[in-house]
């Protein structure tokens, strides 16, 4: 039995700044809360409350987007959609083409600013995404998947 080939297509490089901004937005409340709490505490506890969330934010913004982008791979084959993702937990998912019910592209605020789009594939059990592709690539991938799904004799 031949092993399933590894996917090799990547996301748009602009995905990294988008993720950095998202990390910033995610850690900001923790940093603010830490600064507020630090005012109430003394000594070591205060220093910890003040600097730990900040350290976390810096580490996350520097490390996570880069690691995630390097590991994100995807591919669309006639028989399945192959997705390999994750920074710390790596997950490899296969979606059989005949299970694809429909596919859309979506663009949030950040995606619109960086000229990117996310492809969302819907199955009866839920949806799978290939995020932050260049806008034109996303449209091409969406149409390609739609065509393959149509001919895959869906049930």
């Amino acid at each position: 039995m031949t092993a399933t080939p590894e996917p090799d297509r990547r996301l748009a490089p602009a995905a990294k700044p988008v993720w950095r901004l998202q990390q910033l937005a995610g850690w900001a409340p923790a940093v603010i809360a830490g600064l507020l709490v630090a005012g109430q505490l003394e000594g070591l506890a205060a220093a910890a409350a003040r600097w730990l969330p900040l350290a976390g934010l810096l580490a996350a913004t520097a490390v996570v987007p880069e690691l995630r982008w390097r590991r994100w791979r995807w591919d669309v084959r006639p028989e399945a959609i192959d997705i390999r993702q994750g920074a710390f937990t790596i997950r490899r998912t296969l979606v059989p083409m005949e299970r694809v019910q429909h596919v859309d592209t979506t663009r949030g605020v950040l995606e619109q600013s960086f000229n990117l789009a996310t492809v969302v594939v819907h199955t009866a059990a839920g949806s799978h995404t290939i995020p932050l592709l260049a806008l034109r690539d996303a449209d091409l991938v969406r149409d390609h998947i739609a065509e393959l799904a149509r001919t895959a004799d869906g049930s």
């Binding site: 092993a3 490899r92 009866a124 839920g126 049930s155």
Partner: protein, 464 residues
């Protein structure tokens, strides 16, 4: 109303009247109760009560008639058209090709008049139909079935296909009800209790102080109060199970499964077997010690819709599950035992997260140690329950959350599957495999040896 459009059977007036009454009852009763709290139960209150009841009945009757007279349906060239609504009109068109089945349901009103509520099903059959005709006479049901083209074995010209059926006995129903243990009922009971408490305690003046005096003021009294509430919730869950599962019958004829159940409202659902994606054998906390289990199926509906889960059979002996499935669902039947377990070294990964989770609480109380021990025991139970097998294209995966659940399905029925490993797992050479069969049915086995997990993942795909 145009030509060919039909109204529902007149029994529908009563059905809608009762619905309106149910909607209006709560506010009316609330107003009545507030009146009692204010001035006590006296003649005036009784007279007011009678007045409210009369107003309620009249409003319900009028509302029921209006709803009945503005609801209509007609058969079009390619399907069925449904129209209802007084102020905002809702029109629904369902093309023939989308119709999965015509399920019927009989509430007490429908049964009294010998009519049925017809659900035009386009989805997996879990929820109500896309179009519901609340009161349809038997002749009309037959006509609709003929025209909307549902192939029923009884209507075939040749001899009808043999039908295999399994019925839930009365003792089975009792056992189901007693072991159902629906925690979900507890929440509304607690909420209602809380509301009552709030309104009574919030009352100013003498009444309020009297009520506060009634509140339990020692730990033992609170424990008694909690026990009473739990007992109430359990009684409600028993009643709910009886109403839902009385007369449960699952049968198989040709390529369709038929499931009938219900005490007050009789429901009948028809499911094409090819749409059943997976079977789950669920051994709940109260059932496992007795070797009992419930069967649930994940059914896919029309394209573009999510799957829906349904009860295939509410209670049977675990040892009989294989025979049951061989009779009614041989396409998915498989053995429950003989599953491969995760490696021994995975045990600590099942146990540690649960044991450690409670430790931060040690700062507050030494009782946190007990919590950790319980967590460790739970983790160990999860390890023991975990198991998998992929043979002849058929997948069997067992896991434990609250109930011990075994998923049986052909690997080809999956919606997607994945192989995952976090940093620690990668370092230790372990991985998880997860297969999704539907919105609620996911088979997941954790902490397998990495090569084993990879091979399983490849083989699930290989069969296609």
């Amino acid at each position: 109303m145009g030509p060919d459009a039909r109204r529902l059977h007149p029994a529908g007036i009563l059905v809608y009247a009762l619905q309106t009454l149910r909607e209006a009852a709560f506010p009316l009763i609330a107003v009545f109760l507030v009146g009692i709290l204010g001035s006590g139960l006296d003649e005036g209150a009784l007279a007011r009560g009678a007045l409210f009841a009369t107003i309620g009945a009249v409003v319900a009757a009028v509302g029921g008639y209006v709803r009945w007279s503005t609801t209509s349906y007609r058969l079009t060239e390619d399907g069925i058209h449904h129209r209802r609504g007084v102020i905002s009109i809702k029109e629904t068109d369902v093309p023939l090709s989308r119709i999965q089945a015509l399920d019927v349901e009989q509430g007490p009103v429908q049964r009294a008049f010998g009519v049925q509520a017809l659900h035009v099903q386009t989805g997996g059959g879990g929820a109500g139909g896309e179009i519901v005709l609340d009161a349809v006479g038997p002749g009309e049901v037959r006509r609709l079935r003929d025209v909307l083209g549902e192939r029923r074995p009884e209507a075939a010209l040749q001899a009808p296909a043999p039908e295999v059926a399994r019925r839930l006995s009365r003792s089975g129903l009792v056992a189901t009800a007693l072991t159902a243990g629906q925690i979900g009922v507890l929440l509304p009971v607690l909420a209602a209790g809380g509301q009552l408490l709030q309104t009574v305690v919030g009352e100013r003046g003498e009444r309020g102080e009297e009520a506060i005096r009634l509140l339990p003021d020692s730990a033992s009294e609170w424990a008694v109060a909690a026990a009473v509430l739990l007992g109430l919730a359990w009684l409600l869950s028993i009643a709910g199970a009886v109403v839902a599962f009385a007369g449960f019958t699952a049968s198989r004829a040709g390529d369709r499964l038929r499931i009938r159940r219900g005490l007050l409202a009789r429901r009948e659902a028809t499911i094409p077997v090819e749409r059943v994606r997976a079977v789950e054998v669920i051994e709940g906390l109260l059932r496992r010690p007795f070797g009992l289990a419930a069967l649930r199926i994940e059914v896919i509906g029309h394209a573009k819709e999510p799957t829906a889960a349904q009860t295939l059979f509410p209670l049977l002996r675990r040892a009989e599950v294989r025979a049951f499935l061989d009779e009614l669902l041989p396409e998915l039947a498989d053995d429950l035992d003989g599953l491969a377990a995760p490696p021994r070294r995975a045990l600590r990964r099942y146990v540690l997260p649960w044991a450690v989770a409670g430790l931060p609480l040690l700062a507050l109380t030494p009782w946190a140690l007990l919590l950790s021990l319980l967590g460790a025991a739970y983790g160990a139970l999860r390890y023991r329950a975990a198991g998998w097998r992929l043979a002849g294209g058929r997948l069997a995966v067992r896991s434990l959350v609250f109930a011990r659940t075994t998923v049986l399905a052909p690997a080809a029925n999956r919606e997607s599957h994945s192989l995952s490993a976090n940093v620690l797992q990668r370092r230790a050479g372990l991985a998880d495999v997860s297969v999704a069969f539907g919105k609620t049915t996911r088979a997941r086995v954790r902490h397998l040896e990495a090569p084993t997990a990879r091979r399983l993942w490849e083989n699930v795909n290989g069969g296609h």
